[in-house]
Symmetry: D2
Subunit: 373 residues, 4 copies
C-alpha cells in the first residue's frame, strides 16, 4: 500500500498517521483550499506558516505616492520588525522611488547538432524563422508574447533563451508549454534533437550571472535619500556608520566571498514575501542576487538603493489563487504583477536599511535575542 493508492487527503492522513503512529491532525486542520485547487500530489494537508505584516510603506511613482502593506510569511524573529522600521524611515522621507521593468520569463532549450558547422545552420534557421516561432509560441496562450530569442552555439550544442512576456503570471508553466511547442517545430523542421526543453540557459532556480546580466522576470530597483534626522531617530545611526558598514559588508565582504549577492539580506524579504503571496519560493534563489548601493550626498543625506535583476513574480497562476495567499496579496494594494514587484522592491529596500543600521550599531544579536528565540 502506498500513498498513491488513495484519492483523498483524508484517506492519506489516516493511512500515514496509522502507519507511522504520528499525530498529523494540525496538518489536516490547516488545509483550507479544496484539493482540486491545489497542485500538489499526495496531499495530506498544509503547513501553517506564520504571517506578519510590515508597513504600510510609501512608494512613489511619477508624481504620486501610495501606501502598501507588506505581508511576510516567516518564522524568523525580527524580520517583520526590521522591514517595518525601514518602512518608517522611508515614509518619513516621503516614500521610495521604485521601478520594475518586465524582462519576462525565460526558457532555454538545448539542441544537439553534433558540430559547430551544424550549430551555425541551426542558429541561422532559428533566426530566419523568428516570426514562425513567435506565432507558434503565441498560439499556446492569449497571455504570452515572445520578446526575444538569444542563441548561443557552443561545441555540439545550440542553446536558445526564449524570453516571453507572460502577462500577469510569473509564467514558468506558460513559457514551458509554449517553448515545448516551438521546440517541436524546430525539431520537426530541422531534424536536430532537443536534449532538454530546459537546458539551464534560462536559467531557472539556480544562482547564475546570466540572470544578473540579462535579467529575468522583473528588474526591480528602488532608492531613497535619508536625512540625518531620519537616520538618527528611526535607524539610530549616522550616515557615516551606515555607509562604512555597507561598503565593508555588501561590497568588500561579498567580493571576498565570490558572491552574486552584494547586499545584506534580500533573500529574507523575497522568500517571506513570496511565501505570503503564493509565489514559487524556489525563486528566492534568483531574488537573492543583486546590489545595494549607498552614496553620501552633499546636502548631508544618504541615498540608499537596491537593485534586483531577477524577480520572478505574478498575480495569477501557481499558488496565487489559494485562499490565504490571495488574502495576503489583497493587503498589498496592488493589481498587477508589476505593482507587486514594486512593493517587494520597496520592502527589500526597507529591509536593507534596517539590517544594515542594526549591524552598524552592533545591535543585531540583541534583536535576535529579543525577537528570535
Amino acid at each position: 500500500m502506498s500513498l498513491r493508492n488513495f484519492t483523498t487527503v483524508a484517506e492519506r492522513q489516516v493511512f500515514l498517521s496509522g502507519k507511522l503512529h504520528k499525530d498529523l491532525s494540525n496538518i489536516s486542520k490547516t488545509l483550507i483550499d479544496p484539493e482540486r485547487d491545489i497542485h500538489c500530489e499526495n496531499l495530506i494537508g498544509a503547513i501553517s506558516l506564520p504571517l506578519g505584516v510590515a508597513g504600510p510603506i510609501s512608494l512613489k511613482l511619477k508624481k504620486t505616492s501610495q501606501l502598501h502593506y507588506v505581508p511576510l510569511a516567516t518564522t524568523e524573529g525580527a524580520l517583520v520588525a526590521s522591514v517595518n522600521r525601514g518602512a518608517k524611515a522611508i515614509n518619513l522621507e516621503g516614500g521610495a522611488d521604485v521601478f520594475a521593468y518586465k524582462t519576462g520569463a525565460t526558457r532555454g532549450p538545448v539542441f544537439f547538432t553534433g558540430s559547430i558547422n551544424h550549430g551555425v545552420i541551426l542558429a541561422d534557421w532559428i533566426k530566419n524563422h523568428h516570426k514562425d516561432l513567435k506565432k507558434i509560441i503565441e498560439s499556446t496562450s492569449s497571455h504570452i508574447v515572445l520578446k526575444k530569442a538569444d542563441i548561443k552555439i557552443v561545441g555540439q550544442y545550440v542553446f536558445v533563451r526564449f524570453q516571453c512576456d507572460t502577462d500577469q503570471a510569473m509564467g514558468m508553466n506558460m513559457v514551458t508549454i509554449a517553448v515545448t511547442k516551438a521546440v517541436e517545430f524546430i525539431t520537426k523542421k530541422t531534424g536536430y534533437d532537443c536534449l532538454a526543453v530546459a537546458g539551464n540557459y534560462d536559467i531557472d532556480k539556480k544562482p547564475a550571472w546570466l540572470n544578473m546580466i540579462r535579467s529575468r522576470g522583473f528588474e526591480v530597483c528602488a532608492d531613497v535619500a535619508l536625512s540625518k534626522k531620519t537616520l538618527k531617530t528611526v535607524l539610530k545611526t549616522t550616515r557615516e556608520k551606515l555607509f562604512d558598514t555597507w561598503l565593508a559588508k555588501c561590497m568588500i565582504g561579498s567580493a571576498m566571498s565570490g558572491s552574486l549577492g552584494f547586499n545584506a539580506h534580500y533573500a529574507n524579504i523575497v522568500s517571506a514575501f513570496f511565501a505570503a503571496t503564493g509565489q514559487d519560493i524556489a525563486h528566492t534563489v534568483e531574488g537573492s542576487i543583486g546590489i545595494t548601493t549607498m552614496h553620501q550626498n552633499k546636502n548631508g543625506s544618504l541615498t540608499v538603493s537596491v537593485y534586483l535583476p531577477s524577480v520572478m513574480i505574478g498575480v495569477v497562476g501557481g499558488g496565487t489563487k489559494l485562499k490565504t495567499q490571495s488574502e495576503a496579496r489583497s493587503i498589498t494594494n496592488t493589481k498587477t504583477s508589476e505593482e507587486l514587484a514594486r512593493v517587494l522592491g520597496g520592502a527589500v529596500l526597507a529591509g536593507e536599511l534596517s539590517l544594515l543600521a542594526s549591524l552598524a550599531e552592533g545591535s543585531l544579536a540583541k534583536a535576535h535575542k529579543n525577537l528570535g528565540r
Copy 2:
C-alpha cells in the same frame, strides 16, 4: 493607528480587515500555534502552504537501509510526483548512499583596522587568542562549539569566518549571539572596531563561491547506480539519453550561464522540504548550489550523484517547533539534524533523476500541463 498598537493577532486582523475592507478570515483560521511560540512580529495569522508527501525513500548507511517519507510544502504541480518517481527508482536499486558532513554554521564579522599593518596585528592577535575566543563563544550556550576561525586581511579590513558546531540547531541565531560576544572581546582588547558582526564573509543567504568551496551547514552527497531495467520501467528513458541530457543541461548549460548550480532543480526540493520542516526558507539560496554528476558504468548501469555543499538545516530552533512543521518532520523517520540532512539529500537525488528523465524524454511540459495548472 498602526499595527504596532495592537497586542493580539485578533486585534490586528480586525484592524487591517476593517481598514482595507478585505476578508482575512482564512489567514486567521490557519494560525494554530499560540502567538508566544511564534517569532514573527505584527502577526495576523498564517499562510496555508499545501503539503504533499513523497516516498518512502530508502537510504543506506553502512550495512543497513531505512525508509523515509519526504514532506514537501509546495504549490508547484508535479514536484511531489517527481520526487516520488525518483524515490521509486532509488528503492528498486536497494536505496541510495547518502552522506552528510557537518561543517557548521558560520558568522563572519568584519573589523576596520585602517591599514594592512594593523590588519596583520589584529589577525595575529586573533590567532593567538583562539583559546580565549573559543571559551567565550562556548560560554554563550551549551550547544555551541567553535571549530575554526578563518581570517582574511584585505586593505583596511579584517574578515573572520567563525565556524561553529551548533548541535541540533541550524544555529544562525546561536552563532550570531556567540560571535557577538567574541567580537565584543576582540574590540575591547584590541581597540579595533567591528563594522558588522555579519560582514558577508559567512556568507549567509547569498549565492557565493565561498560556501561551495568551504561548505556551510552540512555538506551532503548522495548517489545511486541505476540498472537499465529501472531506467526503462520507472524513469522511462535510457542511460544514454539521461547522460546526454545531464551533460548538456547541468554542465554545459550551467557553465554557459555562469551558474553556481550545476544541477537540474535542487532549489525546488530544498525549498519545499525547508518550508515543510520549519527551516528558514531563505536558506534555499545556499541549498540551490551544487553539482549533479553521472557516469556510465561498464556493467550497463548509470551512477547518478548529487553534491550539496551548503545545507543549513536543524531539528530544534526556528520554525521547527511549530505544530504543523513538527508533525511534518515526524514522518521523516529522523532524530538528528544530520539524519534530516540525509533525507533531504536522498530527496534531492530523487528529484534530479525524475526531472532529468522527463527532460530527456521531452515530457516536462506534459507533466506540468497535467499536474500543474
Copy 3:
C-alpha cells in the same frame, strides 16, 4: 637624477647600469626597433622571448582548407610540441572547422546621476541620442563603427557598454578615444558627470562573466572529429580515456573551483600567440575563459570543440608593427584580424587535444621533465 632626465635608450642604459652596477648589455642588444616606433616609456632595451613554431595546422572554411603556421613566444617547455602534436591530429582529419565572429571592442563609462530617477532620465536620453553618439564616435576615426550601446541603471550610477567594430585593430585605444568624445557630449548635454570612461562594465583585462555572456573582441569556436586511428597513433590514447579526462577536469573540476575557464589550458596558447604576434598580453585574461566540449559519436569518432568568447586581437596597432612581431605574424598566412583569430582558435584546439591526451595517459610530468627543465 632619474630615468626621466634622459632622452635616449642608450643614456638610460648607461645611467641604470652604472647606478646599479648591473650588466644590461643583452637587454640593449635585443632592441631592434627605433624608439620612435615603440610605445613604452623609459625604454632601456628589450626582452628576448624565445619563439617556437607549431604546425602548420589545417583550418577549414566553407569548402576549402588552408595551412597556417603558429608562432608561439614562450619559455614553457612542451608547449610548442603540444600544439604541434594537436595540429598533426587535426591535419590527419582534414583540418578543423573554425569560426570567428567579431563582437568588437567595448568601453564602458560610468556616470553619476545620484538617483534612479535621474538614472532613468539619462538612460532614456542616451537611447534617444543613439544616432548622435554614433556620429560622434565614428567621427574620431574612419575605422570605427558603433554597433551597440547597452545601458544599465544601478543605484546612483548609469553604466553604458559601447561596443564598436574597430576594423583590423584590436581597438582599445581607438574605442577609448571615441568613447571619451561620446562621454564629453553626454556630459555637456545632460549635465551628468562621468566618473570614469572605463567603468569596468567593458570589462577590460579582468576575468568576468559579462565577457563570457556578451562576448568581447572575437567569439571564436573550433572543432574536429577524431577517428580512433588518429587518437591512437597521434594522441596515444583512446576516446573513452580522453572523454573521461575532459569531463573530470574541464567540467567537474572547473565547476568545483568556481572557474570561468572550463578548459585545459587556453591561457598558455593565447599568451604565447599574443606575445608572438604583437598583441596586448594582458588580454590573456579574457582569452583564458571559455569551454572545451567533447562528444563520442556513433561512428566511433570523438568530436572535440573549443569556445573562446572573448579574444582581443588585431593585425594593426599596438605591438603588431614591431619588427619581430610583424615577422612572426607573417608566417600565419593571414591578412585580417578575423583570420588571425581563427588561427588562434585552431591552435587552442590543438593545444587542448594534446594536453588532455597527455593527462589521460599520465604523461604530463614526463613531458615536462624531458622538455621543460
Copy 4:
C-alpha cells in the same frame, strides 16, 4: 619536410623563410641565449619585447624601506609612465607597506572512484597516509615541501589539492613531477585510477574563485596613505574624486560585470612584470584577480590598498635564467621570490593609483593619445 626535421635554429629559419618567402631576420637576430638553455621546441629565434623601467619605488618592511626599480616589458603606451607616476606618489609618502605570504604552488589531481562510498574510502586513505605522501613528494626535490592536501569528494570523483612550498621557484614543473609520484603511489596502493594529475582543482591558468578564496603562489597586499598634497601635486586629483571613481568602477562596475577582478588594471602590470622577469605570462590570469580598496581617513588622507591573492612568481626556473630576463630582474633589488612578489605588489599599487587618478580626471584618452599611438 617539417620543422621537426631540423636540429638547429638556423636551419629552421632558413627552411621557414624559404618556404614562406618571408624575411625572419629580426627574429633570428634577437635570440641571444644558446638553444640548449631555452625550453621552447621548434625554436626559430626570439620576439623583441620593449622593456621600460618605472620607479624606483620605495617599499617598507618593518622599520626600513628600500628602493626598487620596476622592469616592465610592454607595447602599451602610458603603462610605464603610469606606474612611474604612482611610484612617485608612494615615495612622497615614505613608501608603501607591502606583504607577500607564500601559499605555494598547487596541483590538483582527480581520481575516479565510481561512487561516493569509494570516494570516502580513498579520501580517508589519503588523509591517513599524509606522512607517506609528504615523504614521496619531498623525495623528488630538495626544494619542495608539502604543506597541505585538501580533499573533495564529488560524485564519482575525488579531487586533491596538493599545496607545496617550492622554495625560490614558481614551481609548477616541480610540483607536477612531485604530485605525479604521489599519484603513482596512491594509484598503486589503492587501485583507484587518476584521470588527470592536473584536474583543474589546482586551479592553473584559469580564472577561478578557488584561487581567490584559498590563494595560490603568493598572497600579496600593499597599501599607502596619500596626503591631500600628494593627491594634488602628483596625481592631479582630489581624494573625493579618486574615491568615487574607485567605488563606481572597481566595486559597482565589477560587481555588475560578474568579475573576479575588483580592480583597475592589475593584469597590465602583472603581465608586463612577468614578461620582463622571465615568469610564465599565462599566469597573468591568476594575477588579474583581486581587490583594490580605498578609505578616506579622518586626517584628510586617503588610504589605497591592493590585494592579489594568487601571484605565481619565482626567481629560479622557467624563463628566469634567460639573459635579458635575468638582467631585468637584476635591477629590482631583490634576491628571493618573496621579495620579487613584493616589488610586483608595490608596482600594482602604483599602477592602480595612477590609472584611477587619470580616470577620475578624465585624462585617460589623452594619455593614450599622446603616449600610445
